[in-house]
């Protein structure tokens, strides 16, 4: 999942070399440097690719402190979606 996230980020940032610059511990806002518009496009792609729906207004920004943390959030979200919670 981490690789998938990095691939999506590379597409959003239009940077094919991004995988060499970031790791699972990279902060998505600050290390990858997504601005607010890129962030929306990133999450819309996540929703599409992972089959989930994110509550934009109440999303906890601390999940963006690392790619690993975001993966954790997405895994939990997928489980909730699958079990209809």
């Amino acid at each position: 999942m981490e690789n998938k996230i990095i691939t999506l980020l590379s597409e959003i940032k239009e940077d094919k070399e991004l995988d060499k610059k970031v790791s699972a511990s990279s902060d998505i806002v600050h290390d990858v440097g997504l601005d607010s518009l890129q962030m929306i496009n990133f999450f819309l792609k996540i929703e599409t690719d992972f089959g989930i729906e994110i509550d934009f207004e109440n999303f906890d920004f601390s999940y963006l402190s690392s790619i690993k943390n975001l993966c954790k959030f997405l895994e939990e979200h997928q489980v909730k979606t699958a079990s209809g919670i």
């Binding site: 962030m39 496009n41 819309l44 599409t48």
Partner: protein, 452 residues
């Protein structure tokens, strides 16, 4: 000689947007919002001797001392005008109308000839002028909102025969219907009527993303919000630029400058004054005739004042004169104004912004950064050909200083975001890039993490 009262808010669109208007999906980034609140310090660039600059947060003393060495001279408030975090939602005119005593010294420094020079006209600007018994005249606020809407830009483009494919949609169903038709041909961009650089517009390349946005809007419409959006074909941009002009109260048009923009996708990164050959190229393409027609139309609608017309040249060479009309001042105007000042020293600058992060434990002050820049010979001073002119101080550490509550609750270790605006004085882009690199290294040495 009459003096000017200079003040404003850089998030004008927030105050112009219909409160019952639906929004595209967005994350609320409080750090960025705070930075925008404190950008008004850059309005010093419009001040002449004896002018009065009012900033939401008091003007940094070290920055002021530095600017005085460069020949700037203005009065500024020594106390904050915004006193609580909750007041972030009020524009500066509203704050002052509520309690003019926060700047009671202003009243002593204005005369019957004092005029007002706002960044933009906002709700309550007129009341502020009345309260201070100034003679300045503003266009009607409804006119301001009307001409600043992307819907007006879109319709005017169509009227002048300048438009690529696009349409206005008034609910989520129309968004889906027209959006999908357009998506079958090319990628599209959806624009909020009052979106700004980096916010309020979304590029879409897949039906499924359009579906999700429509669903998001539908839920707002069900709660009584009204949708109005502009959908346009996503064009392949080569060069972004803007034309700065002023329309006076009698309708006289004064074209002041062409500014080229440095953008990161749709977000603003910096500005520089276009070279003579670029302006001549635009002239040959009859671009300025179109600008005059746009200005005349704005005046017919009842607008007068500053205008920053965003335009672009596409990869195929076509000029798109209206990307959006900003009937207000802009970052381009600030760069132009600084360049006008730097002319005295036979140099010019590039306005650049640098984004960075810092933690509670490694926060430094602007004074420290300025002092380090001086030690390393990075600062621009009259007589030098190259150097960096810091033009903002509060934007660096405002998020820490305002203590964003939700960040501290959710993640103690999450860094704060800051932004430094500079004018890089240099003869060429290569020297500019070297200077910016040196500043980034300096910040890095102070444990400030600079973002790309």
């Amino acid at each position: 000689m009459s003096n000017c009262l200079v003040l404003g808010d850089f998030n004008s669109e927030k105050y112009w947007k219909d409160k019952k208007g639906s929004k595209l999906p967005e994350f609320v980034d409080k750090d960025s919002a705070n930075i925008i609140l404190s950008m008004d310090e850059m309005l010093f660039s419009f001040c002449r001797i004896d002018d009065i600059l009012l900033t939401r947060f008091r003007f940094n003393e070290s920055l002021k001392e530095y600017l005085i060495k460069l020949g700037y001279s203005f009065k500024s408030n020594v106390n904050n005008i915004q006193l609580t975090y909750g007041e972030s939602n009020q524009n500066i005119f509203q704050l002052l109308n509520n309690d003019i005593n926060r700047v009671d010294w202003v009243i002593k420094n204005i005369t019957e000839n004092t005029s007002i020079q706002p960044y933009s006209y906002l709700p309550c600007s007129d009341l502020f002028v009345q309260n201070l018994q100034l003679k300045s005249k503003f266009p009607n606020i409804e006119v301001i909102k009307y001409v600043n809407s992307k819907v007006f830009s879109f319709n005017l483009s169509r009227e002048l025969g300048l438009k690529y494919s696009g349409c206005i949609v008034k609910n989520h169903s129309e968004l889906l219907e027209y959006g999908k038709k357009m998506l079958a041909v090319s990628n599209i961009i959806i624009k909020d009527p009052f979106g700004v650089s980096g916010k309020g517009s979304i590029s879409v390349n897949l039906d499924i993303i359009l579906d999700r946005i429509a669903k998001y809007l539908k839920s707002q419409e069900e709660n009584g919000y009204n949708s109005v959006f502009v959908i346009e074909e996503l064009l392949e941009r080569e060069i972004d630029f803007s034309c700065l002009f002023n329309i006076d109260i009698d309708g006289k048009i004064d074209i002041q400058s062409i500014q080229k923009m440095l953008n990161n996708q749709f977000a603003y990164y910096g500005s520089y004054t276009a070279k003579k050959d670029f302006v001549e190229y635009l002239e040959k393409q009859n671009y300025f005739i179109t600008v005059e027609n746009i200005a005349k139309k704005l005046y017919q609608e009842g607008y007068f004042g500053p205008v920053c017309l965003d335009s672009m040249i596409l990869k195929n060479g076509d000029i798109v004169p209206i990307v959006e009309i900003n009937a207000r001042k802009s970052m381009g105007f600030i760069n132009y104004s600084i360049d006008q000042h730097l002319k005295k020293f036979n140099v010019s600058g590039n306005l650049v912004s640098i984004n960075f992060g810092y933690n509670e434990t490694n926060k430094v002050t602007f004074d420290k950064i300025l002092s380090e820049m001086d030690k390393q010979g990075l600062c621009f001073y009259p007589g030098l050909e190259n150097g960096i002119m810091p033009i903002s101080a509060n934007t660096l550490f405002i998020s820490h200083d305002l203590k964003i509550i939700n960040k501290i609750e959710s993640n103690m270790n999450a860094p704060y975001k800051g932004r430094m605006y500079i004018s890089v004085v240099s003869k060429d882009f290569e020297t500019r890039n070297i200077l910016v690199k040196k500043l980034r290294e300096l910040l890095d040495g102070l444990s400030i993490k600079v973002y790309d």
